[in-house]
Symmetry: C2
């Protein structure tokens, strides 16, 4: 139940499994490459630190104003994974005929990955090898390996700390980089007894990063340890007999967070003086016990789905940034697809999970957005606006890192997506101080952009030349999703302005006044925002009785070209794709997940049916949204179908690029498929509402909701059983009827057939 | 009258004047750099051969299917211009205090440029220097220099043939290249007595190019001549006393046109054995005499305008390609802007001049398009179409060379523009054989694209995701210009199919059948073309009573940002520009010049008034169209204003980039300003019509019209006097009334006030 296993070593899944078996903790991520190396096959042998970046020149075939001249790129940090194993001098590696009993798993209950096998030497002797690793959820700077060998003969381990690391490249796929780069280079290195270190520095941004490795040897027998420095790598050779256990305790630091990374790394190591792999694992286990208790989702009556959803929650834990220097990249810390960039995925697919489960961690994602607000203001000016903030479509440090503006910079909706997350956080936590200090500034500055890129025409507010989430249509007028999100962004700017300008708390009011002064926000401006929001055009087609994706979309022809060439973007010129009614991912349908209060339920359902037919799901962000919204319209079979698509995406590598890293948005979306999908959780007029349903493939499920000072436990089976496990009382709508949940009293409501 | 003069040497105009004083003949072009070199200041010291190209890698920040991976680029050929002058060892160059009586001019009557001055040496001695040059209009491979020095002392000339040539680059301007390239490299070189040669080869395309220089010395005194090879250049040192005349007769060949370029160059030189500069000039003069007689436009009562229009006609003669290997690049052979690429400029701005003046030369431009038809077919497949031909937006060899598809590949209208020129040629010449052998194939294959990128919706034919001529709006639906041109392309495909399939001439009919078979064209397909043409949506806005540029254009806001930052594309992100009702150039207005039969005159005029207000004329293709169409609506003052803007563009460098070459489309457009503008020449239902008017700044003007087997001389003063100078009779409409013009009988019609 609490393990994901893969006991069949197949080199053709090597790269995929490096992603699946990554270990990470939101700060550091280490792909699951083999310690002892591979005899054959590719490896993307990478370790990464969240938020660390170098800059790379961006060359345009034909440049224009506001096209980025350089972009952020996540470097590989020093590799700590290698530990070659020699048995009487013979290298132990996985070659078909020479091993037995291969086992590999990740254990969600204690947070380690384990790999073991029996190796048979050329002289037919048997050795027992076990490789364990973890990235500590408690000590974010720490990851550790344990290598244990039992062999009747001489055992030699060659542990390597390698500074010659280059980013992965695949020139044939626009979704990965097209050139290998050595971004971090060794600046200093050294060794002393059991400890080795590398201090590295990026070439353009001059950020430094330290890696410290301590070797702890547990052996009943005599052993030797010897370090040698070879150019930019340090090898530690350990020899013993019969049985040898090596713990490599690794500490990672960087100069974004530490003034002197190397010193801080040594301090951490000192602090950990008595910790070896075993004790770190114990701490890890306690942490996870708490996590699963307070945030774990249970699925009853379907072990496979239970395991899969655990995988998803676990990967969020491993890959979501833990501080304001970082966020969640498209592939988390598990690979190099999209070069470590942060997208809107965070706010729309991942943040809504965290705000329900771990509100403090959700907050740190917002802190990051606040930290890059000045960059977004600068970008706004670059784009020709006179005020406000235009958040970059993809970035690490805050600068726009997109090379193709029709599917990036034109996606202005990211501004509203971010504002949406700030408002959602506010509703879930009522954290007024955070709002007045940071949230409002982001909401006002993002709202300002809509006034500048939109215009009133015949009484309606239009927004031209934008791209919605569906990237198979670009640079259109009045994209439904964009207009709806803009309407919301403008509305909450207006609402919050009025609320805070009349707030009673003097301290908050003063802070609010300082903010309004700082950003020079006038009531006239707020009134224009209100007017734009009220008159925002949300296109509706009366012939089809559906909402229209944009002003021309429904007059385009249906796709009549080869449908098997997928994803389409790898086979067709953008103009060809743009010319048809064909979707990469949910657009109108997603708008209805986020803001159904602006729409009519029947028209929403009609729209779902229409757009579903023409969606390719070429984006990994699509299945989960169609699944969640299928629940809204009571298409439970369909919802379950999409749920299976979502859980299969990485686990069965259905998009065939899990090698480049896990699809974090899909992972968040899979968790949302239960919380917002089957359970139907929404915020509706600032109130929580659920509309639970259970697919026939399950007996039921349970999950937790953090809301303001309360935590709810919601169990959905034949009955819905709601318990308040933290807090005294809270209100909740179930199927549109309001209930008060109070401490120590279970609320039981029958599961509705027709909800 | 027949000269353009600039007798004031100002180094700050050096680059501009290198373009203005270029010599060329459609095959070779040599910029007007100084033979003796410059003491200071920049020079773009270039010579070019029309149609010669190398390929350069095209790097995209984010690539996609169908983005070019390499592009054509015009190389610099070997430089023949340099001839240093030493007077008693002192270099003669233009330094402020040391020369007098500087004169420079181009003589349109004999086709040479002349530059002379008196140079005062440090020892205060006076030398007389004259530099002449021409590119022969008769021997296309030949250009020649004559350098004449009179000096009471030792005269040394150092004539150079230089193979170390690199293309010009300006990384700050997207309209020029951003990297210097040495595209042609020396493969062989040699010297023998008075002759030197360089054989060069391109790096990627392996095209070779030979330059042969013969030194002819005319001197009353003794002289010496000595060649020396220095790496990739050859220096020829000539010394004499008192008076020295050196003719450098240069022969250029290339492997596009000649199997053995060097041998062919020697053959040409042999053929010219008795020609020196003087005899070449005589031949040149005869040629020009014929040209001005048969094609020259005269303006009466305004010397300045007369001179300017002569400049324009002369530059067409110098820069328009003369064979099917070449065309007219955006800058002709006068500079390196747009890297030597051919655009739609040819068909819409230049071809209509030639078809009236020099139909054979017009035909060779079409031959070029036919030659690259296979490339266009290949491009069509790259773009995801299953048949037809998609002409590249910019090219030399036929491949798409654009780096930014929204303002290039999306300009599908080039397909119809090319078809339009073929049809226009057919109407002017009735060259049925050419049509059945080449023209029809182009017209059918281009028409096929519209069926594939357009679709019927509610009974109307729509075309989505295209960009019209106005590049300040991109990727729109139902662009007015595009739809109108597509309508025409489809209509003539239908008409010509029906005409030729029933033609009586058996030979033509058989050729037609072979064609239809070859391209697999069915009657069903032709019927669909007819239906699409008949139902083509030409957007009209009833509120404004104007034609709408595209489906969303008129709902966008008016430009409210800084208007002085021009051209806008150098100051604003494309999305910002796209978001407003702001035009780079004529779009709807141009459509009405080409196809007024599809529109209503009053609505056309309203449209003109509307769009004129919001046009920046940031494109050099704009003034002339607004000028021509101003005549159509009887706004003669306005027409004259635009005429002045057009003639000033290069002559007064109003766009500040004449240094990169002459604006050939504007030059063609300026000539059209008289023929199609003031004279109002059109083809209307296959008949010629003129609607002459005379701006008050002139007393009148005259021009010639080649039409089928006739040549008309049209003189417009207080009366319109029409004479048939070749042919027996022809019909012509003047102000909508039909006249028959017959041999030896002047037709006199009063100039209308209200025409």
């Amino acid at each position: 139940m609490y393990k994901y296993e893969d006991n069949n070593y197949d080199p053709s899944f090597q790269l995929k499994n490096e992603s699946i078996f990554m270990v990470g903790n939101g700060y550091v991520g280490i792909r699951g490459a083999f310690e002892e190396g591979y005899p054959t096959g590719d490896s993307i042998r990478g370790s990464y630190i969240n938020g660390l970046y170098d800059r790379v020149e961006m060359v345009h075939a034909e440049s224009a104003v506001g096209f980025p001249e350089e972009y952020d790129k996540q470097p590989k940090i020093a590799d700590t994974q290698t530990c070659m194993v020699f048995l009487d001098g013979e290298p132990a590696q996985l070659v078909n005929t020479k091993y037995e009993n291969y086992k590999r798993y990740v254990d969600y209950s204690n947070g380690e990955t384990v790999r073991s096998y029996e190796f048979i030497t050329r002289s037919n002797k048997r050795a027992y090898l076990t490789f364990r690793r973890l990235a500590s959820f408690v000590y974010y700077n720490v990851a550790s390996y344990r290598i244990e060998i039992t062999y009747d003969g001489e055992i030699e381990l060659l542990s390597v700390l390698d500074g010659d690391v280059r980013t992965y490249a695949n020139p044939n796929d626009p979704r990965t980089s097209n050139e290998q780069k050595q971004l971090l280079k060794v600046k200093d290195l050294g060794e002393n007894l059991d400890t080795t270190f590398l201090l590295m520095e990026t070439g353009r941004t001059n950020l430094s990063q330290a890696t410290l490795v301590k070797h702890i040897i547990i052996s009943e027998n005599e052993y030797t340890l010897e370090n040698s420095i070879k150019d930019t790598k340090i090898e530690t050779k350990i020899t013993s007999n019969l049985h040898l256990v090596l713990d490599k305790v690794c500490v990672f630091t960087d100069s974004l967070r530490y003034t002197e990374p190397l010193r801080s790394a040594y301090e951490t190591l000192e602090h950990l003086a008595y910790e070896n792999y075993e004790t770190l694992l114990e701490i890890q286990k306690n942490y996870l016990n708490d996590f699963w208790t307070n945030s774990g989702i249970e699925i009853y009556g379907n072990d496979n789905d239970q395991k899969s959803i655990r995988f998803m929650q676990y990967q969020l834990l491993q890959n979501v940034g833990i501080d304001s220097y970082s966020n969640v990249s498209a592939k988390g810390l598990s690979g190099e697809g999209y070069e470590g960039h942060y997208f809107w995925d965070t706010e729309i697919y991942i943040f809504p999970v965290l705000v329900v489960n771990q509100p403090q961690r959700a907050k740190s994602l917002l802190e990051y957005r606040y930290n890059i607000l000045d960059s977004a203001r600068k970008r706004s000016l670059e784009l020709g606006h006179t005020k406000g903030a235009a958040y970059p479509w993809r970035t690490i440090s805050g600068i726009e890192c997109s090379g193709y503006f029709p599917a990036s910079t034109a996606q202005y909706h990211i501004n509203a997506d971010i504002a949406y997350a700030f408002y959602m956080y506010y509703q879930y936590t009522n954290d007024i101080l955070f709002m007045v200090e940071k949230g409002l500034e982001v909401i006002f500055e993002t709202a300002r952009i809509w006034i500048q890129i939109g215009n009133f025409f015949n009484g309606e507010f239009h927004i031209h030349e934008v791209t919605g989430p569906d990237e198979y249509t670009a640079i259109v007028s009045d994209n439904y999703f964009t207009n709806m999100m803009a309407k919301f962004n403008l509305e909450i700017a207006y609402k919050l302005y009025n609320y805070f300008s009349k707030i009673e708390d003097e301290v908050i009011l003063e802070k609010f006044r300082v903010l309004v002064d700082k950003i020079n926000l006038s009531e006239e401006e707020i009134e224009i925002m209100k007017k734009a929001s009220d008159n925002m055009l949300l296109l509706y087609d009366s012939n089809l009785d559906i909402y229209a994706q944009d002003s021309t979309f429904l007059s385009k022809p249906m796709w009549n070209l080869d449908f098997d060439k997928r994803p389409l973007l790898l086979y067709y010129h953008p103009l060809t794709i743009y010319r048809y009614q064909i979707l990469k991912q949910a657009d109108v349908v997603l708008a209805h997940l986020l803001l159904e209060e602006y729409a009519d339920l029947k028209k929403m359902e009609n729209s779902y049916n229409y757009y579903e037919e023409i969606t390719t799901h070429d984006s990994s962000l699509s299945y989960c949204i169609y699944g969640i919204m299928a629940c809204r319209y009571k298409f439970l079979d369909k919802a379950y179908y999409y749920f299976i698509q979502s859980i299969s995406l990485d686990l069965h590598d259905t998009h065939q690029n899990t090698k480049d890293g896990l699809h974090l948005a899909n992972i968040g979306g899979t968790v949302l498929s239960i919380i917002q999908g089957f359970a139907g959780l929404r915020l509706q007029n600032d109130k929580l509402i659920i509309r639970p349903s259970v697919p026939e493939q399950w007996e039921g499920y349970s999950f937790k909701i953090n809301f303001r000072d309360c935590v709810l436990d919601v169990k959905v089976e034949e009955e819905i059983i709601i318990r308040l496990i933290v807090g005294d009382k809270m209100n909740l709508l179930v199927y549109d009827k309001e209930y008060k949940v109070v401490k120590d009293k279970e609320l039981r409501i029958p599961l509705a057939e027709d909800f």
